[in-house]
């Protein structure tokens, strides 16, 4: 079973925005120069991002690292509220505060083939995982989106991951259906699934297979305040008791998560 090591953030760092790119009406990607985090970040880890010297919004927001190289990391996000709206209007040269990198991350595969399954922005950590996958491991990438408004996002992903397969609910992009249609009926012993996206999608994947659940790694999302394991605001129920998504996760084995206790 996947049992990633918990990891507290190395510290709070300043990051300088290199560039910002608008991908769809509501999705943006930002490159940030932050050497320490870039050096330390592993796939599946995230940062808590905020504006220094601003008390509203106050708390950092968790965003996955979608790439790291040289001095830079990148993030991509959808505008859903206060912080993401402000981030979408940021300009190159502006300074952000980054706490991280944190969380256990996806770790190393224990099989020879990894199928990465993303729902919309859940692609962010998986892009990083895909690019850092050890050479001897086979890999698939499946992305599910709602409708045609995600077309530019899918185009953008395709440039990063040429062999990606798409599913959309309206069938305009890729095949009609959800990512579940892209998964086999059984999970072969050589294969594992890494997934990130909306909770209903991950729950469905986590509960799809009666055998092999321990080979499914899910990256969960909860509300967070501190991102360092202190507030216990982000806890979920697992078979091994309460765990904090920020430092004990965000990646858990599907077998371990008490799915019925998760809301959403």
């Amino acid at each position: 079973m996947f049992d990633g090591e918990s990891s507290i953030p190395a510290g709070d760092f300043k990051g300088t925005v290199r560039d910002i790119r608008q991908i769809t009406e509501t999705v943006f990607s930002i490159h940030i120069a932050c050497p320490v985090i870039s050096r330390l970040a592993r796939p599946g880890q995230f940062i808590m991002i905020r504006f220094p010297n601003r008390s509203d919004p106050l708390l950092g927001r968790p965003l996955a690292v979608s790439s790291a190289g040289g001095d830079d990391i990148s993030i991509c996000f959808q505008v859903v509220g206060k912080m993401t709206a402000l981030l979408s209007r940021i300009l190159p040269g502006e300074i952000l505060s980054l706490r991280g990198p944190m969380g256990n991350g996806f770790g190393l595969p224990s099989s020879t083939m990894v199928t990465m399954v993303a729902g919309a922005l859940g692609a962010a950590p998986l892009i990083f995982a895909y690019n850092r996958m050890p050479q001897n491991i086979g890999k698939n990438f499946i992305l599910g989106v709602a409708d045609r408004s995600w077309y530019p996002f899918c185009e953008w992903i395709k440039k990063l991951i040429p062999e990606v397969r798409f599913f959309s609910e309206d069938g305009i992009i890729g095949k009609k259906g959800t990512v579940l249609n892209g998964l086999g009926e059984e999970l072969s012993p050589e294969e594992e699934i890494w997934t990130c996206g909306p909770l209903p999608m991950m729950r469905a994947i986590g509960q799809k297979y009666t055998r092999g659940r321990e080979r499914i790694r899910v990256s969960l999302e909860t509300r967070m305040a501190c991102g360092m394991g202190g507030c216990q605001g982000c806890v979920i129920n697992t078979l091994k008791g309460k765990k904090r998504v920020c430092v004990d996760g965000p990646v858990f084995s599907a077998e371990e998560v008490c799915w019925d206790d998760l809301k959403g």
Binding site: L58, Q232, K242
Partner: protein, 307 residues
């Protein structure tokens, strides 16, 4: 400035602190790396997460929610119980080499008594107990003890009987008579007062048209409460002679100075640690700079000067 610079040292109820910055209860996890001196620059002492007699799993549902310049929490005293604390966490806490206070949530008298007896057995290694008569997030006891002078006196007397070390009492700002409660705590044997815990607030999820928190109400902290906490310190300082630790929304050295000028001798910081690990060091630098500018030799000279 370094933490060995004595100009910022204070004595809170017999506990000697090199800096007036105490990390508040419930914000600092027991991850070992976080208790190393490098991660605690500028910190004078730490308060542990609340300890209860038996383990508690805490509250279900949403536990944290941001508000304008603040946050609500409804954690519900999740902790492993006093025995786990002593066995597993106390060794980590002691590694920092800094003074610490064990935050004890007041439960029913028999439970509180048992918890304090356990701690009292190892009194020589515990600098102080912070009696929490102010937790807003549980049904049994918690904040109720701190609402009125009579119940506060009862809780503090009980603690005084079974805990022989330094006793800090953390008040609730929800009391309609915080001065009365403060006096009652002092009379019952408190060595210092922490003013204060979180304010009761709530949030409604407009999508579901339901309160965000299962227990409806939750505790408000962060910069939003600072002026309220400052007033509570001001009020209590007019009533008691024991040292006061100001708590609520302290983020900057100016906030810390204001608390001290109102009558506090030190401050606790909670939410600020969620957004900047460097907060204690930053505040200490600011304080040291202020003392230098005003040609003062010790922060103590500023306690209550705004009065």
């Amino acid at each position: 400035m370094t933490s060995k610079d004595k100009s910022l040292s204070v004595n809170i109820g017999g506990v000697l602190l090199d800096s007036p910055i105490v990390i508040a209860s419930g914000v600092w996890p027991y991850e070992e790396e976080l208790w190393s001196p490098e991660r605690l620059k500028g910190v004078g002492a730490l308060s542990t997460k609340a300890v209860t007699l038996e383990p508690r799993i805490g509250n279900p549902g949403t536990r944290v929610w941001e508000t304008p310049s603040g946050m609500l929490n409804s954690i519900g005293l999740q902790n492993g119980g006093v025995d786990t604390f002593i066995k597993e966490y106390l060794p980590i806490v002691r590694k920092s080499g800094l003074p610490f206070v064990v935050n004890v949530a007041v439960e029913r008298p028999a439970e509180t008594e048992a918890t304090l007896k356990r701690l009292n057995e190892i009194r020589e290694i515990i600098p102080a107990v912070e009696l929490n008569v102010s937790c807003p997030n549980v049904d049994d006891g918690g904040m109720c003890w701190g609402l009125f002078p009579e119940s506060a006196a009862q809780a503090v007397s009980l603690a005084r009987e079974f805990w022989k070390g330094s006793l800090w009492v953390k008040l609730t700002p929800q009391s309609p008579d915080i001065r009365g409660v403060a006096s009652a705590a002092e009379d019952a044997g408190a060595d210092a007062l922490v003013v204060a815990n979180t304010w009761l607030g709530m949030a409604i999820d407009t999508r579901t048209a339901r309160p965000v928190f299962e227990r409806t109400c939750a505790g408000l902290s962060g910069p939003a409460v600072f002026p309220l906490a400052l007033k509570a310190v001001w009020d209590v300082a007019s009533t008691v002679n024991i040292p006061i630790v100001g708590c609520g929304g302290v983020f900057s050295y100016q906030d810390c100075l204001a608390m001290i000028m109102a009558g506090a001798s030190a401050v606790e910081i909670g939410t600020a640690m969620f957004i900047d690990f460097e907060t204690p060091a930053r505040i200490c630098n600011g304080l040291a700079g202020y003392l230098e500018e005003k040609v003062l030799s010790n922060l103590r000279e500023l306690v209550g000067i705004a009065r």
